[in-house]
Symmetry: C2
Subunit: 147 residues, 2 copies
Amino acid sequence: MRFDDPPPEPLASAPGFLLSWNGQRIARSFAAALEPLGLRPPHFGVMTLIEANPGSAQRELVERSMIDASTMVAVIDELEERGLAQRRADPGDRRKRAVYLTPTGKRTLERARTAAMETARAIFDPLDQRELETLTKLLRKLAGAGP
Amino acid sequence: MRFDDPPPEPLASAPGFLLSWNGQRIARSFAAALEPLGLRPPHFGVMTLIEANPGSAQRELVERSMIDASTMVAVIDELEERGLAQRRADPGDRRKRAVYLTPTGKRTLERARTAAMETARAIFDPLDQRELETLTKLLRKLAGAGP
DNA sequence: TATTGTTATACTCTATAACTATA
DNA sequence: TATAGTTATAGAGTATAACAATA
């Protein structure tokens, strides 16, 4: 059994398996799409958060993600090394580090987003527009997100 | 953000994220359901394969799963230690080890299956029967499995 | 020479706990 | 005393490569 092939019965009839299988498959494709940019999924997630909340303290980024504090340090270290993000002093509280994207970071994030969208399009290609909408609606409901 | 809470927008609108999120969530619940039985998901998967093909060589189990050879050795070692499976000599080829479930192994697998089904029921509880069928159909199509 | 199973080893990812500095 | 950030360390899980026995 490989990720390229469709799963065999009876697995392909079990919704729990199908969900986990397709989820892993898309997570993999997503990681592969990010790789040429030198990014892994956590980098993308953190950059997206920084973009939405520029100047966040690391603590806030930890709270809004599922990344713990020590991993967050490592991720932001790597973003800084690549010139994609910057830590600056927080004028009001010297313990805090305010995190920003650099212009290069913003451009890279935009490219990453494009790559991610292309990947998603390829993965969801077997479904037509209406089916994709139905799937999204059901998955939202399953996740407990509002309608 | 935690796995207990629904994901925030705009993530909750992205089908790729929703798929990965729900997939991870069910994989976690599945692992948690197995834990009281002293099993992890790979144990369950391998036991299911052995049950369907008693006397398989380890090589066959590797081919039919996504577990590599050295990991398979470790998994079967653990099943043997717990008295759930047995390696026997293959009469036709002395390199091969024919793998079987013990009676205890069969009973444990049955209990694990029950636990897994209860977990799936709890996870899919937000959907009614018709919605669950639609979701399964769409996920099958997405995975490339026949109708 | 190829195959089956095994072992030893290394690697990735993440989590835990202890530490520094500020509040 | 509590909080923000950091570092060092350990753990789970998996993969890679070398090896012994057998074909």
